[in-house]
Each structure stands twice: as C-alpha cells, then as structure tokens.
C-alpha cells in the first residue's frame, strides 16, 4: 500500500509527479490510497520515495491532460484515484478513452462533468463587495463555497476578467488573492463574512424587474441556481416575494383589461422619418426620373419572387448612357447590397469591360429580372434560373429602363436577357457575337453571361472564353458609332 499525500494548493502538479512514479512502477491502483496532506495515512503505507525515479515519460493521448486536470479537484479523492487508474491503463490500451461506454471512462466523465459544473457555477455566482482600496486601484472581496477543490482551476478566469482591480476570493479552505496583476493562492481556513455592498440594492431591483411574472417557472430556476447558492447571492433574497406575488401581478394585468388602441388623431402627427412616400406614377410617358421608377419598382409584387428576396435590385448608370448591358438577375450579394453586378459575376464583367476600355460612366447595367431567385440548401441560397413568367412580369421594368435611358446599343448577356429583349432566348451559343434587334427595335449585341465564364472548370477553356467575351465587348464602341450614324 502506498498513500501519496498531496498539498491543498498545487494538487495537480503533485498528483502528476506521484502518478508518474507509480505508473512507471506499474503499481496496481488498488494498492494506492490517495489523500491530501494532513490526512492520516494507513499504518503500513510505504513511502512514495521508495519507488524508483521514472526513467521515461508516460504516454497519454492528447485528451487526457484536460480530463485529469478536471478530475483532480473532486472532493472525495475518487477523482484522484480514477485519474491514476486511467493513466495506468492508457499505457497498455492507448485508445480506450474513446470508448465512452467503458465503465471507468464513464465514471471519469461523470466526475468531470460535476467538476466542470462546479467551476462554472463559481464563475457565475461569486459576488464581489467593494472594500476601501487605494485611490488608483479599487479593491474587492468575495466569499464562495464550492462543492469541490476547484479554487486553482477557477482562479485564472477571475484574473483574466478583473485585471484592473485588486481582489480576494475566500473559500472555507483557500484564499485566492490578486494584487497588482499577480495571482496567489494560499491554503487558509476561512469563514463567511457578514457584509454588503452599495450596489446590491440596484442589482436586486434589476433582478426583480427583469423577471416576467407571466412566465413563472421556479423549478427551472432552481435547477440552474440551486438553493445552496442563495445565501451568498444578494438578489436571492427577493425570490420568495417575486414567486409569491407573480400570480396576482398577472391577474392584475388581466383585470386591468385592455387599453383601446388610441384613435389615430390622438396618436399625434406621424413622425418625420416614417411618413409614407407617395408611389411614383406608373406612367410610361410622364416626366419621371429613373429614381422614381426605381422607387415604384421597389414595391413590386408582379411575380412571386418578391416574397423571398430581400429587395428589388434596379439598374444603375447614367440616364445618358449610350449602352445598356442586361444580365439575368441579381445574385446573393446583389440581393443583400441592393445594387446590380457587385457579386462575383459582376466583378468579372466589370474587369473585362475595364480591360477593353469601356468607361463606367458610359453604360447602364441592369438585369432582366430584378429579384433574386434561389433555393435554400442548408444555410446557403443557391441561384435558380427565373421562369419565363417571371421574366415576362419583370419586362415591365426593363421596358421602362429602355425607354428612359434610350441607349444606342443594348447588350444581352446570357439566355434570360436575350429572351427578355428579343422574345427568344434559345441557342445563345450559336447567336452570340451577332447583332439582333430588340422588341422595340434597338440594335442588340448578343453575348454570354459573365457567370458562364466563372463556371467553366477548365482553366484553358475559361481563358479562351474570357477572350471571346472581351472580343464581343470590344465591338461595343463601333456598334454605338454605327447606330448613331
């Protein structure tokens, strides 16, 4: 029988040193009786020092040190012995911790869970009270009664959190002191002080006010904040009254009945920033600005797409633009930003246009469909091609953009745009590069949608297709000049 005796502070390090020796000598866990300094050892216990110095390091899996650290503080020493039992067995069965059904592992995890809860509750329920400190550094004390010997494990949290003040947390067995940024633990008997703090009244007011009496569930409260903690929680003094009065407070609300909705006239003038904006007239020949058309489009419900999209993404560019580029529909990013061509495909388009020397101030960009159509896959919105009915419904807006901008040339990018502009979107790859006519008689250059370029997996093919796309764009200047002549 060997009976290691560990210090109250520094328990983990001492356990580790002892366990190394014992495990190296393959001492049977049944032959070890763990305890703390000051506790009586069995009469015939052999001194730990009789065991040889361990010659090689113990091998443990990566998960073990954390588990051991959590087991050591267990009050009855079952944690100390379980941790040793595990460490010894790991020397011959290096993977057995992964079997949570193993009775020893299950026991260790059960203990560890209780310790973790104890530490967590200490972090939660310590209540500091202010003492007279120095003018430049405030001083606080607290009293806490943990179930297990968790002071060492729990202390760093407070040091991280309350770095700019001095404080002491006393438990019945240990004092944790933090002075000028230095943390120190001393084994020391303590008793519960009887003192208050000037903020406790305000805190209790808050505690009572944030409670909703219509949702009274005292069992749920006690499950998480058991009564044993209450005597050190200033707010807990309010609990009995809060529970006792909850029913009558709710009954009062019922009895008081309803306040009739104030008549509109009593509500006073509508606040300045919520005044209804008058929708712009849907008059194709009225003197509207593009902004007004965009404003009326923002409330569009002409097809069902509005119900899942964030917002209408209207076209953008000067009214004097000589070219109008038309794409398919806004994507995820455009839907969030409310602006066309700001996503990956838009970036591709902008880069290509810049490379062939098309000036941003000279063109107008828009889409055939102005709401984002998608399906949800998990947490991602996956683009879906709009249906013909949606394209037709949205043509209302595209036609108004064409009328108002009155471009010399329209560029249809992709099948959907081609369909919207010419009434037929079939065979885009055969028709690309050609100049056709829009339904309202404008010259219309046909090309692919920039997202097509992004989707090509083969790098060489993609480079070739980007060049073809840029070749299409390069014709824009000439075509505009021709159309103007």
């Amino acid at each position: 029988m060997i009976a290691p005796r560990l210090p109250r502070v520094g328990t983990l390090d001492a356990w580790r040193a002892a366990a190394k020796r014992l495990a190296a000598a393959r001492v049977d866990p049944a032959e070890v009786e763990w305890g703390l300094e000051g506790e009586a050892a069995p009469l015939f216990a052999a001194p730990l020092d009789d065991l040889p110095e361990p010659t090689r390091a113990l091998r443990v899996p990566r998960a073990f040190p954390d588990l051991a650290r959590t087991l050591i503080p267990e009050r009855t020493h079952l944690g100390l012995s379980t941790a040793y039992e595990l460490v010894l067995r790991l020397q011959s069965e290096p993977r057995f911790l992964e079997n949570r059904a193993d009775p020893a592992v299950a026991r260790a995890e059960r203990i560890a869970k209780a310790i973790r809860r104890d530490i967590h509750k200490m972090h939660a329920f310590v209540r500091f009270k202010e003492q007279h400190g120095r003018a430049d550094r405030r001083m606080f004390t607290a009293w806490f009664e943990p179930d297990h010997r968790i002071e060492e494990a729990a202390a760093p949290f407070f040091a991280d959190r309350f770095g700019d003040m001095d404080w002491t947390i006393r438990t019945p067995e240990v004092a944790i002191r933090f002075r000028e940024g230095a943390l120190e633990l001393v084994a020391q008997d303590g008793s519960r002080p009887d003192e208050g703090d000037e903020m406790e009244g305000l805190w209790t007011t808050y505690y009572g006010s944030i409670f909703n009496p219509a949702r009274l569930k005292p069992d749920a409260m006690r499950a998480e904040m058991p009564k044993k903690y209450w005597r050190n929680l200033p707010e807990a003094a309010a609990i009995p009254d809060l529970i006792a009065n909850a029913r009558s407070r709710v009954a009062e609300m019922h009895e008081a009945g309803l306040t009739p909705a104030a008549p509109a006239i009593a509500r006073g003038p509508a606040p300045e920033d919520t005044t209804m904006k008058m929708p712009a007239q849907h008059d194709l020949f009225g003197s509207q600005t593009l902004d007004e058309v965009a404003e009326s489009a923002s409330a569009c419900t002409r097809c069902p797409l509005y119900s899942d999209a964030t917002q209408v993404v209207f076209g953008e560019g000067p009214r004097s633009a000589s070219v109008m580029f038309v794409g398919e529909q806004p994507g995820d990013k455009e839907d969030l930003a409310g602006r066309p061509f700001v996503g990956p495909a838009g970036q591709m388009f902008t880069d290509c246009a810049e490379r062939v020397g098309i000036d941003r101030d000279d063109y107008y960009v828009t889409n055939a469909v102005k709401h984002f159509k998608f399906v949800l896959r998990g947490r991602r919105r996956i683009h879906q091609r709009p249906a013909a009915s949606e394209v037709n419904a949205c043509n209302w807006w595209l036609q108004q953009e064409l009328q108002m901008v009155d471009p010399k040339l329209v560029v249809a990018m992709g099948a959907t745009a081609l369909h919207a502009l010419t009434g037929n979107g079939a065979g885009i790859l055969k028709r690309r590069g050609g100049v056709e006519q829009t339904r309202d008689g404008r010259p219309c250059l046909v090309t692919v949608h920039p997202s097509y370029l992004l989707r090509l997996p083969d790098e060489d093919l993609r480079m070739a297709e980007i060049e073809k796309f840029e070749a299409d764009l390069r014709r824009v200047h000439d075509l505009v000049r021709e159309a103007a002549a």
């Binding site: 993977r95 057995f96 949570r100 059904a101 009775p103 299950a106 972090h123 939660a124 329920f125 209540r127 500091f128 009270k129 606080f140 607290a142 040091a159 959190r161 309350f162 770095g163 700019d164 940024g181 903020m199 305000l202 007011t205 808050y206 006010s209 944030i210 409670f211 909703n212 219509a214 949702r215 009274l216 569930k217 005292p218 749920a220 409260m221 904040m225 929680l233 029913r247 609300m253 019922h254 008081a256 309803l258 306040t259 909705a261 104030a262 006073g268 606040p271 300045e272 920033d273 919520t274 964030t310 917002q311 990013k333 969030l336 409310g338 949800l376 998990g378 947490r379 991602r380 919105r381």
Partner: protein
C-alpha cells in the same frame, strides 16, 4: 413629475426590456484584461450569472436607453399609446451601472435596446455614444446592441465596431402581421437592414493582405420573433427563420412567446404565453440547424402547420416515418443515428467512436448518456431487437405524459 432616482429609472427601463428573449453572451472574439489596463473579458461561451424565477438566464444587463417611443406597435409595452411611466438613462448612468455591476461579477456585459425617439438615426447615435463611452473607459466585457432598421450605414458601422453582437428584431413571422400590428415598421426594411449588417460583417471578416481582419460584431447578428400575437402557424415561423438564417447568416433566431403586458392593447389576446409552443419551436430550430432536418420534413409531421405540443418534433417525425426505423446503433451512419429520438449529436459522436472498439448494447448507450427509454422502439443493439413495437398503434401515447393538474388552473 419629480426627478427620478437611478433606482426608479432602472426599474422602469429593465421592466421595459424583459420581453426581449435574448440574453446570450456567447460567441465572438476572446478578450481579457490581464494587462491591467481595462476591465473585463469574453470567453467565447457566455455565463449565466443568475436565474430569475421565470427560469431564464440573466447574463447581461438588459435595459432600454429610453422607453419613450414614437412607434405604436400593438404588442409592445412601450408603444406610443401605452400609459406606462417613461424614463431615459443618461450616457453616464448606463456606463456606471454596467461597469459597477460587472466589477461585482453580476453580469457578462450590456444588452442595450431603446424605444425610437425623434428619428432612427438620432436614437441609434445616442445608443452608439453610450457603447463608445463604455469602450473608451476600458470596458472589455460583452455588448449586445439593438440596431434600428432605418439607421444610416455609418451608424451601423460604428455600432459594429464597439459591440460584440448586433440584432434587429423581425418582430413577427409574416410581413402582413408586421404591417397590421407594427404600422410604422416594415418587414422588407428589417430584412434590408439585416442584409446591410451581413455585408458589413462579411467585408470586415475578409482578411486584408496583411492577414488582419477588421472588428465588426464578432458575435454576429441575431433576431427575435414574437409567437402567439398573430395567427401565424409554426410552419410560417420556421419558414421565416430558415429564410433569415440562409440569407443573412444569423447566429440565432429567438422565439418569444407573446406574454400579457401591463396596459395591453385591445387588438391582442390577453392570455398566458404559449410557453410549450415556444419550446417546441426552439427544438425544431435546433433540428434545422444541427441535425440536417429539412423544413419540409418538420412541417410534414405537423399537418395543420403547427408542431405537436405533446411530443418533441424529432419524435413526431420518427413516429410518422416509422419505415426509416429501427436503426442499428452498431452499423448505421451518423445521419441515421441523428434521427433517433433520445440521441443528441454528442451521443451520436460517442457511439460512432466507441463502436470501433466494442459492439454496443443498451447499457453501453445509457452509460454514454443516451436517453435509452426514448430510443428503445427505434433502435437495434447487441442485446436489443424490438419486435413489432414500432407498429404498435399506441406508440405515440406511450410518450405522452398524462396531463397533470395545472398548478394555476
């Protein structure tokens, strides 16, 4: 009206804030004050410093800057037409309460919301000024800031720089209900604001060429939906959540059972909050986010559009998809195990690891923490082969607790 004490203001402005369900202080960057030059830390997983007798966690100082409001949302205690007493905190009062509560370890930080005064921008700026002062004073604890939908992008950006989490409440499951009950609010505007927050966060999270990221709401954004104030079904509620999670990358959607308020509006039901419904919605939300359930799977087990209040949504799904069971705990893949009533994702991880070493029986599953009783008809194990119990007509009834006398019936 005489000058109010701080205690009176705190009473009014926390009472006014309690209908916001969120009190989470989790997520986001880790910080500490070991350098001694500030106060506070964030650990990544929040702490509940107290529990109120309603069973809810108190983690943050949850207050309104003011409960004055120019809006008239029928479900809200602070609506313009309500007769509640009004108050407003000064910047210094909020900073004082937050830091002094924090120093005493009462809270993880601040959750600041507000009624709308003067204009959205004015209100947002006053709130941002409070948090900026708090940060300037060296406060490193957690801050959750409610953002006002119409506030300017510049203000939202300032809010994101000083707060850990931003939230904008969608309020109700359907735009129609918002228009009806919150006449000054607009569902589309609220979603646009969420989109704006997401874009700002996405661009801040994008590493620069030096690998640095900007700080913007490291704990992301969340929202809240009131349940039981309108006639929306659970399918409407979950449909809205799914859409919000997908589009705006929300961390959480909170469901808040509509609760009677003092001075309630005549247009709303004055009855007990549907707490069980709220609970089932959270369970369904969890299945959608962590158990790879599709919205259609959950709603298919809820034929009238509402979740079964007697059994949890996973069990409800299993009961109406019995052909998918029993599942062999020693062979089935992870996806199939996640569908078993009584097995959480942690248990499933443990099963998958442990069965590499041993063939599992029921006792093994119990030792790992699985709820064997719930799982029994739906699994086979080394020592368990349910015969016919899956076909039992009364299978559902076995799971339903007999109705107890209502405490306050």
């Amino acid at each position: 009206m005489g000058k109010m004490t701080l205690q009176q203001k705190l009473g009014i402005l926390s009472d006014a804030a309690k209908y916001d369900a969120s009190c989470s202080s989790s997520g986001g960057a880790k910080r500490d004050s070991r350098d001694g030059a500030g106060l506070g830390s964030t650990t990544g997983s929040g702490i509940c410093h107290a529990y109120a007798p309603d069973g809810r966690c108190i983690s943050l100082l949850k207050i309104l800057m003011t409960n004055q409001c120019i809006f008239d949302c029928a479900y809200c205690i602070n609506r313009r037409s309500s007769n509640v007493r009004r108050a407003r905190f000064t910047v210094d009062e909020v900073v004082h309460l937050t830091t002094e509560f924090y120093r005493r370890n009462y809270i993880e930080g601040l959750f600041l919301s507000s009624g709308i005064i003067r204009s959205s921008d004015y209100t947002m700026e006053q709130m941002v000024l409070i948090v900026e002062k708090l940060r300037a004073d060296g406060f490193r604890g957690y801050v959750h800031l409610k953002t006002i939908p119409d506030a300017s992008p510049e203000l939202i950006e300032r809010a994101g720089r000083c707060a850990d989490r931003l939230s904008i409440n969608i309020e109700l499951p359907q735009d129609r209900s918002i228009a009806e009950l919150a006449p000054e609010k607009d569902g589309a505007d609220i979603r646009k604001a969420m989109a704006g927050v997401r874009l700002l966060k996405d661009s801040a999270d994008e590493p620069t060429f030096r690998g640095r990221r900007d700080r913007f709401a490291p704990a992301g954004q969340s929202t809240q939906m009131i349940v039981g104030a309108d006639d929306s079904t659970d399918a409407d509620v979950l449909g809205q959540s799914t859409r919000l999670y997908g589009a705006y990358g929300l961390k959480r959607v909170y469901y808040s059972a509509f609760s009677p308020i003092p001075d309630a509006s005549a247009v709303l039901p004055l009855k007990d909050p549907p707490l069980m419904r709220e609970h089932r919605l959270y369970q369904a939300d969890w299945l959608l986010r962590y158990y790879e359930f599709g919205l259609d799977e959950i709603t298919s087990a809820a034929p009238d559009g509402n979740l079964d209040l007697d059994v949890d949504p996973k069990l409800a799904w299993a009961l109406s998809n019995r052909d998918r069971f029993p599942v062999d705990v020693n062979r089935a893949d992870r996806e199939a195990l996640l569908r078993v009533p009584g097995f959480g994702s942690k248990i499933v991880d443990r099963i998958v690891k442990a069965r590499r070493q041993v063939t599992l029986g029921l006792e093994d599953i119990r030792r790992m923490g699985g709820r064997v009783k719930a799982a029994l008809p739906f699994v086979t194990a080394r020592d368990h082969h349910p015969s016919g119990s899956l076909d039992a007509v009364d299978l559902r009834a076995r799971y339903v607790k007999p109705k107890q006398m209502e405490l306050f019936a």
